[in-house]
C-alpha cells in the first residue's frame, strides 16, 4: 500500500522550504522505526503551498510479536497438590491467557511461571495516522506563527490536509482541519478543487494542474530555460546556488522569461542594478562572455507562458522605477564629501556599549599605526592603510547603502574612487568585508588584507569585551564568522608568523584609552580564534590529534598551522614521526617528575659522555631548527628532530636523570627542558595518537 500526506498551506518562505522538506523526510523516517512495519521508501517534496510526504510500499499492518511475560513463582502459582492457585488465575486473566499457554522456567531466583504472549500488530492506517500527527507536532521552523488556532504554531497557516492510504482517507484532524482527498493546483484564476483517488493519482493530477512537486525538477526547468532565454541576446544567466534556490522555491510551475533593462540605467554602478534584479525582484542577471552585465535579466514567472508579455512588462516597469530611485540616491551621494560621511558616523551606533562607528573609525586609524610599525610598512603603505581605515565605514551612511545594505563595501569603494582616492585605498575599502559569508574570496591587496584583519579584530575584541557569548545557535553579532574571516586570511598568508597577539592587545588598549569598559584579557580572544582555527582545520579534514598538536602553538604562528599539520600528516605512517613522538613522550614524562625551579644548563656539571653528547646535539640543532622554521621548511625540521633520536636514546639508556645530587639532577632537567622546547617550537607532539603496532 502507498500513503500520501499533503499539508496544504499558505505560502512557505522560499528560503526555508528545502530545509522543511528535508526535515519532513528525516522525521518521518525516524518515527516509523517505532513501528514493526516494513515499507519500500519515504519521499518528501515541497512547493510554496504544500509539503508532501509519500510512504511507498507500506505493509498492511505491523507484524505480530511474541513476547515472553513473567508470572508468579511456581511455588505460589500451584498449591501442594499441583492445582492452580488464585494468584495464577489472576495472572492468566490479566494477560488474557489460559493455562495451556504457560510454561515453567528456571531463573536465578527460582522457578517461575512464564507465558508467551502474542501482541497483535496495528494496522497501517493506525501507523500512518500516528506518524502524520507526530510530523505536524514536531516539524520545527525558525519563526513559526499562530494564525487562528491558539496553541498551534506552524511555518504558515495550514489550509488543508490529504491523508490517503491506497484509495482510502485516513481520518484525523489537526489545528481544526480534517483530512480529506482534496487539494488545489497552481493558482491561475479561480481555485479549482482536485479530487485525488490515490497517491499515484495525486502525482498525475497535481502535474496536470501545473504543480511540479520536486524542487530539483523545477530547478532544472529554470536552469534550462533561462539559458535559452539569455542566449537570445548572446548572454549567460548568472546566479549563486542559494539565490537560485529562492527563485525556484517561489514557484510551483516556473517559466523563465527574458526582460529588458532601460539603457540609461547603465549609468549607475552594476552592483546597484544587480541588487535590484536579484535582491528585490528575485530575478537573474544576464552577462556577456566577458562577464559584463547586459541590459537584460531573466524573470521567473510562477505560472505558464500564457500572457507572459504582460508579466514581463510589469517586471520591467518595477526595475525602471527602482533604478530611477537608485540613480537619485547615487547622484545625491556623489555630492557629499567622503570626509563628511565620516562625520555622520558619529550618529550611528556600532554595538551598544562600544560607541559609534566614528569611535570605531578612530580605533582603526590608531590600529593602523600599530600594524604599520610592527610590520615595517613603507610610509606610502602606511598612509594608504590609515586613509583606508579612516574612510572604511563612510559608505555605510550613504543613501544607496541605506537602500541596498548588501552593497556596503562596494559603494564605499566606488565613492572613494569617484572622489579621487587612489586605487589602493578604494580597493581596500571594498576588501575590508572579505571574506563574505559562505565564500572563499579573500582580500588580494596587502592594505586590503590588513584593513580586513584590524576591522575584525576590533569587532571581536569589543564584543567579547562587553560579554557577548557565542554558543550553539546563539551568535548575535556573527562573531564566529568574524573569527573565521581572521583565520581564513591568516591561513592564506604564507608567512612564518604574524604579530596577531600584539594587535589584539593593542586593540584592547585602544578601547580602554577611548574610555570603554571592556573586560577581557588577550588570551580570551586568542582562545576564541584558536577554536575557530580548529573548526576550519577540521573542514580541511585533518585529524583531531594533529589539529590539537599544531593549535597548541602560540597564535602568532597561526598562518603556519595548516602547513605544519600537513607535514605531520604526511609522516603519520613513517618511523620518523614515531621516533619523534616517542622521544618527546619520554622527555615529557620525566620532566613531569621535576619539581623545583628551572635552571639553565651548566656544561661543567656534566659527568656522563651521553649527556654531553645530547647537549652538543641540541645546541647545534637549535639554530638550524629555528632557521628552517623561519624558512617554513617543515620537512627539514622533522629531519633534524629525527637525527636527534639516537642521541636521545643513548641518553636515556645510559644516564640516570634522577641523580642523588640536587645540582646534577637539576642540570639534567634543564637539558631536557631545552630539548622539549625545541620540539614544542614545531608542535605539541604529545597530542599525536600513534596506532599501536
Amino acid at each position: 500500500m502507498d500513503y500520501l500526506f499533503e499539508i496544504f498551506t499558505e505560502e512557505i518562505p522560499a528560503t526555508l522550504l528545502n530545509k522543511a522538506v528535508q526535515n519532513l523526510k528525516t522525521i518521518a523516517e525516524r518515527k516509523i522505526q517505532d513501528f514493526n512495519i516494513n515499507f519500500k521508501r519515504i519521499e518528501a517534496f515541497g512547493t510554496p503551498r504544500r509539503l508532501t510526504l509519500f510512504i511507498w510500499g507500506l505493509e498492511d499492518k505491523e507484524w505480530d510479536i511474541e513476547k515472553e511475560v513473567k508470572g508468579p513463582p511456581v511455588s505460589i502459582a500451584f498449591d501442594k497438590d499441583g492445582n492452580p492457585t488464585k494468584i495464577l488465575g489472576k495472572f492468566l486473566s490479566s494477560n488474557n491467557l489460559t493455562e495451556k499457554d504457560i510454561f515453567k522456567k528456571d531463573t536465578a531466583k527460582g522457578t517461575y511461571v512464564f507465558a508467551s504472549k502474542r501482541i497483535k500488530g496495528r494496522t497501517a492506517e493506525e501507523v500512518v495516522r500516528e506518524v502524520s500527527l507526530f510530523l505536524l507536532q514536531h516539524l520545527s521552523f525558525p519563526n513559526p506563527m499562530y494564525w487562528d488556532n491558539p496553541g498551534v504554531k506552524f511555518i504558515r497557516p495550514i489550509r488543508g490536509m490529504i491523508a490517503l492510504l491506497g484509495n482510502n482517507v485516513v481520518k484525523f484532524s489537526y489545528a481544526g482541519i480534517e483530512t480529506g482527498r482534496t487539494t488545489y493546483g497552481l493558482r491561475i484564476d479561480k481555485p479549482r478543487e482536485i479530487e485525488v483517488g490515490s497517491p499515484e493519482d495525486y502525482l498525475k493530477k497535481i502535474r496536470e494542474h501545473y504543480v511540479i512537486l520536486s524542487f530539483n525538477e523545477r530547478r532544472k526547468m529554470v536552469e534550462r530555460n533561462m539559458k535559452i532565454e539569455a542566449s537570445k541576446v548572446n548572454g549567460h544567466p548568472s546566479s549563486t546556488l542559494s539565490h537560485l534556490e529562492e527563485v525556484v522555491n517561489l514557484t510551483e510551475y516556473p517559466t523563465p522569461f527574458l526582460a529588458r533593462i532601460d539603457k540609461e540605467s547603465l549609468n549607475i554602478p552594476d552592483c546597484i542594478t544587480e541588487s535590484i534584479i536579484e535582491g528585490h525582484l528575485k530575478s537573474i542577471v544576464v552577462r556577456n562572455d566577458e562577464g559584463k552585465l547586459l541590459p537584460y535579466f531573466i524573470g521567473v514567472r510562477n505560472g505558464l507562458s500564457d500572457f507572459v508579455e504582460i508579466v514581463r512588462a510589469g517586471y520591467e516597469k518595477v526595475v525602471k522605477a527602482r533604478v530611477l530611485d537608485g540613480k537619485f540616491f547615487f547622484e545625491e551621494d556623489k555630492k557629499i564629501k567622503l570626509d563628511d560621511f565620516v562625520k555622520k558616523l558619529k550618529g550611528v551606533v556600532f554595538i551598544k556599549g562600544l560607541g559609534t562607528l566614528y569611535d570605531k573609525t578612530l580605533r582603526l586609524v590608531e590600529l593602523s599605526e600599530v600594524v604599520s610599525s610592527n610590520l615595517f610598512l613603507s610610509s606610502e603603505e602606511y598612509e594608504n592603510l590609515k586613509r583606508a581605515a579612516f574612510l572604511s565605514k563612510a559608505g555605510l551612511v550613504s543613501n544607496v547603502v541605506k537602500e541596498f545594505p548588501n552593497l556596503q563595501g562596494k559603494m564605499g569603494s566606488i565613492y572613494a574612487e569617484i572622489q579621487g582616492e587612489n586605487k589602493v585605498v578604494s580597493t581596500a575599502i571594498y576588501e575590508q568585508y572579505l571574506p563574505l559569508p559562505a565564500s572563499n574570496l579573500l582580500p588580494k591587496t596587502k592594505v586590503g588584507t590588513l584593513i580586513s584583519l584590524i576591522d575584525k579584530i576590533d569587532t571581536l575584541v569589543g564584543a567579547l569585551g562587553i560579554g557577548v557569548k557565542v554558543s550553539g545557535s546563539k551568535d548575535p553579532f556573527g562573531l564566529r564568522r568574524v573569527g573565521n574571516g581572521i583565520v581564513q586570511i591568516l591561513f592564506s598568508m604564507g608567512v612564518a608568523s604574524f604579530p596577531l597577539s600584539k594587535f589584539i592587545s593593542s586593540s584592547i588598549e585602544i578601547y580602554k584609552k577611548q574610555g570603554f569598559k571592556i573586560n577581557l584579557v588577550p588570551e580570551d580572544v586568542e582562545l576564541f580564534l584558536k577554536d575557530r582555527a580548529k573548526s576550519l582545520l577540521r573542514v580541511l579534514s585533518f585529524r583531531y590529534d594533529i589539529i590539537n598538536a599544531v593549535v597548541s602553538l602560540p597564535i602568532d604562528f597561526m598562518p603556519t598551522y595548516p602547513q605544519r599539520a600537513k607535514v605531520i600528516e604526511k609522516h603519520l605512517s613513517e618511523d620518523t614521526l614515531l621516533y619523534i613522538v616517542l622521544s618527546n613522550k619520554r622527555v615529557k614524562n620525566i620532566l613531569a617528575k621535576h619539581q623545583g625551579k628551572k635552571s639553565t644548563v651548566d656544561p661543567s656539571l656534566f659527568f656522563e659522555r651521553d649527556e654531553e653528547a645530547l647537549y652538543n646535539a641540541v645546541e647545534t640543532t637549535r639554530d638550524k631548527v629555528f632557521e628552517k622554521l623561519k624558512e617554513m621548511d617543515y620537512e627539514e625540521v622533522m629531519n633534524l628532530f629525527y637525527t636527534l633520536y639516537p642521541v636521545i636514546s643513548q641518553f636515556f639508556d645510559n644516564v640516570l636523570v634522577m641523580d642523588k645530587k640536587d645540582e646534577i639532577r637539576s642540570n639534567r632537567f634543564a637539558l631536557l627542558s631545552e630539548l622539549k622546547s625545541l620540539f614544542d617550537a614545531f608542535a605539541d607532539f604529545s597530542e599525536i595518537a600513534l596506532e599501536k603496532k
Binding site: E10, P48, W147, R159, R301, V311, G314
Partner: protein
C-alpha cells in the same frame, strides 16, 4: 478604473465580507497600523472587522513632488479581521478581481516579509504581495502588540493604493493617476505634497518640534493615567508624527532615537493596558 472608483470598490467588497467601513482616522499618522482602529482593536478577545482608507504621512520619503514614485503622503487601504477567516487569502485575491484584474493574465507572488514596529511593540508574520513584480500589498498575521502575544490573532491587509492605481491605469508617475474623470492625482495633491516637503525639510522648527514632543508625551501620559484612552492615544500619535518630522530633518542621533522610541512604546503599553482592563471589566461582547 480611476482612483476614487478603486476605493469605492474595495469598500464595497470588504463591506460584503462583513467589515465596518470607517472614515480615515483624523490624525497625522505614518501607517494604518497606528490607527486606533487597528492597534487598539487587535488587542483582547473581541472579534473585529474593519476597512478604511488611511492617508499615511512619512516625511522622510517626501521628494517635493518631483519623484514619480515617492511621496510625503500616500494612501493605504487597511483591512483588519479578527480572527482571520479560513479563506482569507482567497478573499484577498477576490478583492483584486473586484478591481477588475484578471489574475490569469498576471502573476501574484507572496514573498516572505515579516515586520516589527518598535513604537507599538508590534510584530507580524506574513508576506508582501507582488503583482507582476510590483509590491502592492502587505499581508500579515499580527503576532504581538504592546509586547504581548495576541490570542486570537488578527489578519492585517494593507494595500498601497497609489501603486495599485499606477498598475491598473498603466501610469509611470503617481501624479498622472486619474483621481476621477476630470482630476489627476497631481491636480489634487502635487501642491500640497510640495508644501509639506518644504515644511518638513526646510521650514520646520527643530527646537520647537522637540518641545512639542515633550508636551504631547506629557499630555498623553496624563490622560492615559486617568484611563482616558482615545484622547491619550491621540497624543501618542502626535508624538509619533513629530518624531517622523524630526527624523526627516536628520537631527535624531542614534541614542536619542532609542530613547524617543522607548518613551512612545511606554505610552502604547499604557494604552494597551486600558483596553485589556476594560475588556476584562465588561466581559466579552460577542
Amino acid at each position: 478604473m480611476n482612483f476614487q472608483e478603486m476605493i469605492f470598490r474595495l469598500e464595497t467588497f470588504w463591506k460584503r465580507q462583513g467589515c465596518v467601513i470607517l472614515p480615515p482616522f483624523d490624525e497625522q499618522i505614518g501607517a494604518g497600523t497606528l490607527s486606533p482602529y487597528t492597534f487598539l482593536k487587535v488587542l483582547g478577545k473581541k472579534s473585529w472587522s474593519v476597512a478604511y482608507v488611511q492617508p499615511s504621512r512619512r516625511p522622510a520619503d517626501g521628494r517635493y513632488g518631483e519623484n514619480p514614485n515617492r511621496l510625503y503622503m500616500h494612501h493605504q487601504f487597511q483591512v483588519i479581521i479578527k480572527p482571520p477567516p479560513f479563506d482569507i487569502q482567497e478573499m484577498y485575491l477576490n478583492s483584486l478581481r473586484a478591481l477588475g484584474l484578471k489574475l490569469a493574465q498576471h502573476e501574484v507572488k507572496f514573498i516572505e516579509d515579516n515586520w516589527e514596529t518598535a513604537v507599538l511593540g508590534a510584530q507580524g508574520i506574513g508576506w508582501e504581495v507582488r503583482l507582476d513584480g510590483l509590491e502592492i500589498t502587505q499581508f500579515t498575521y499580527f503576532q504581538k502588540a504592546a509586547g504581548m502575544e495576541l490570542n486570537p490573532v488578527s489578519v492585517e491587509i494593507t494595500y498601497g493604493l497609489e501603486r495599485l492605481a499606477m498598475f491598473i491605469q498603466g501610469k509611470d508617475s503617481v501624479f498622472d493617476i486619474q483621481w476621477n474623470g476630470s482630476y489627476t492625482y497631481g491636480d489634487l495633491r502635487k501642491q500640497m505634497e510640495y508644501e509639506e516637503c518644504v515644511y518638513a525639510f526646510d521650514e520646520s522648527d527643530v527646537k520647537k518640534l522637540f518641545e512639542l514632543f515633550d508636551i504631547y508625551e506629557a499630555e498623553s501620559k496624563r490622560l492615559l493615567d486617568n484611563d482616558l484612552l482615545f484622547p491619550g492615544y491621540q497624543y501618542l500619535l502626535k508624538c509619533s508624527h513629530t518624531f517622523n518630522l524630526l527624523d526627516a530633518r536628520g537631527v535624531i542621533s542614534i541614542n536619542e532615537r532609542v530613547n524617543l522610541i522607548a518613551r512612545m512604546r511606554h505610552l502604547a503599553e499604557l494604552a494597551a493596558k486600558i483596553v485589556l482592563k476594560s475588556e476584562e471589566k465588561n466581559g466579552l461582547s460577542v
